[in-house]
Assembly symmetry: C2
Homo-oligomer: 95 residues x 2
């Protein structure tokens, strides 16, 4: 594993509470990571934005910043066929 890969962590935003994910972000950066990516699909997208905003403005204010935000689509297979869902990738980086 290259050094770059070790420093980059991915957090999948799902059904847990917003604060649980903020705690994961704080832990990752406190362990020395330089970058972490929040990934969410569908209705969890709003929660991912909340996690990014709360982490960068409250818990790790002036330590990390929102480096990039990308939106896209993904096809997922369900019982009733293939469904397209929107996705978001928010990159947080040590500032």
């Amino acid at each position: 594993m290259s050094e770059e890969q070790q420093d980059q962590q991915i957090i999948y935003i799902g059904r847990k509470g917003t604060m649980s994910y903020c705690l994961v972000v704080v832990t990752i950066f406190n362990k020395g990571a330089d970058e972490c990516i929040l990934k969410a699909r569908g209705r969890s997208i709003s929660k991912a934005v909340d996690v990014a905003e709360i982490s960068t403005r409250k818990f790790l204010a002036e330590q990390i910043k929102i480096y990039d935000t990308k939106i896209g689509s993904e096809e997922i297979e369900t019982d009733t066929g293939v469904k397209t869902v929107s996705t978001i990738d928010i990159t947080l980086r040590r500032s």
Copy 2:
């Protein structure tokens, strides 16, 4: 009003259905605009991403693209005090 301002339209994403907003996007670009911004707060953020993805991939595929995505926070006054909500601004531009 300068020419630049005339060409830029803002759509506030709220409680209507996703397709209603897609129709507004299609109408704006069909009337000749070069750019339009989707703005949403809180839980409507996921809907704004859906509107952007559906407009750029289905209705106006290869005609418009997602030019920029910005996330942020806003303070709003409620009956119970000031509350911070997350926001998203998605810029769609003629490609």
